[in-house]
Amino acid sequence: MDGVHDLGGMQGFGPVEREENEPVFHAAWEAAVLAIMRAGGARGIFNIDEFRHGIERMDPAHYLRATYYEKWLDGVTRILVEKGVVGADELAARRAFFERHPAARPTDAVRGPLPARVPANPGWVQDVIRETDATPRFKPGDAVRTREMHPRGHTRLPRYARGKRGVIHRYHGVHVFPDTNAHGGGEQPQPLYSVRFDARELWGESAEPNQVVHIDLWESYLLAGGA
């Protein structure tokens, strides 16, 4: 999806603003969003690719002005509602409750006793390498070209690196494929490579001198040969 989240090479966002002595969380709700995201993932309600694509589908103007945890909240909420884990109506009702009762704690709105929880897999985010008999098509040093593709759905081939020539730098093993895994299409694991691009290939005459970019790319993003 060629959305505003795909920021590589974009201009106009001004200088980087560093916050001196930045706190771990700017407010308690940020930690709650982090806990919610982790619980949903660890309990298998969504995978990391569905989560990321949930954020990518935010309203673009909201994406650009939202803070990190606001993006997470928006994305997690979208996914939980889409999957039917949370009903839009019950969510709206709870929001209304907490707007009417700004001092209430989350447990104050819980109906009935807390149920037992389903088992969790805390390593869910990194659990992406699969042992398969796939043999990598490319080896370090091979010239490749990325596909010119603009899929409507989730992809991890950034827009700035489409249709570009690069060189295989390293083989990372066989990894779950986000483009299918984000859309209920299964893990379909593929060889993953670190691919090196010269900045001139990516940015043409506007490139800074003496620069390369490495991007981790799945095999099906790549065509053989740099022609």
């Binding site: 603003e17 709700w29 700004p102 799945w218």
Partner: protein, 200 residues
């Protein structure tokens, strides 16, 4: 809070509480999950594993080799089992820089929570296309003869920079080096500086 927190939705707190209460009720969120997150990160005030690994690599050539070639084995030394880290080495010829243009991927297990600027559009947009200008604005001038290698974290592999050990630290041991090694140096937006002379 400046541009990094331009417009927090005034209803965000009630939205979070609503979701939190529903997920508690449905047995998805543990009652102590939020407190544990806060404890885990707000009380995690010791040095990052990343800094400890770099200090060790600076003082132990075998460990340095291990960190660069088999980071999983190297991180086990600090009781961390983490299989996804690639450590990239700064040299006289190469400066490395880590970014995630598509979202905000970051090596949490070794560096902790990412700083806000790492997650905002200004950094994510320019790190791949004009890193030298960007680093200059952030206070780091990279010699034009050094290649800048940008690592765009587009998959689950995570990247950490092994910075150059600064001149003037020859007399320091591993533990004295650790506090010099900043998060920013491990991302690649700063160099490690020698300790400031003691003020009298």
């Amino acid at each position: 809070m400046g541009k990094n927190h331009p417009n927090v939705d005034p209803y965000v707190v009630s939205r979070v509480r609503a979701l939190e209460s529903l997920l508690l009720e449905k047995g998805i969120l543990a009652p102590d999950a939020v407190d544990r997150v806060i404890q885990r990160y707000e009380n995690d005030t010791g040095p990052m594993v990343g800094a400890r690994a770099v200090a060790k690599a600076w003082t132990d050539p075998d460990y340095r080799r291990l960190l660069l070639t088999d980071s999983r084995a190297a991180l086990r030394y600090f009781d961390l089992d983490y299989a996804m880290l690639m450590v990239v080495e700064n040299t006289e010829a190469v400066h490395n820089l880590v970014v995630c243009t598509l979202c905000s991927c970051y090596p949490w297990p070794v560096l902790g929570l990412p700083p806000t600027w790492y997650k905002m559009p200004a950094y994510r947009s320019r790190a791949v296309s004009e890193p030298r200008a960007l680093l200059g604005e952030m206070g780091l001038t990279v010699d034009p003869r050094r290649e800048i290698r940008v690592w765009d974290s587009s998959a689950e592999m995570r990247y950490m920079v092994l910075p150059q050990r600064p001149a003037g630290t020859e007399g320091l041991g591993e533990h004295a080096l650790i506090p010099l090694i900043t998060r920013d140096a491990l991302i690649g937006v700063a160099e490690v500086r020698p300790p400031a002379p003691a003020t009298r």
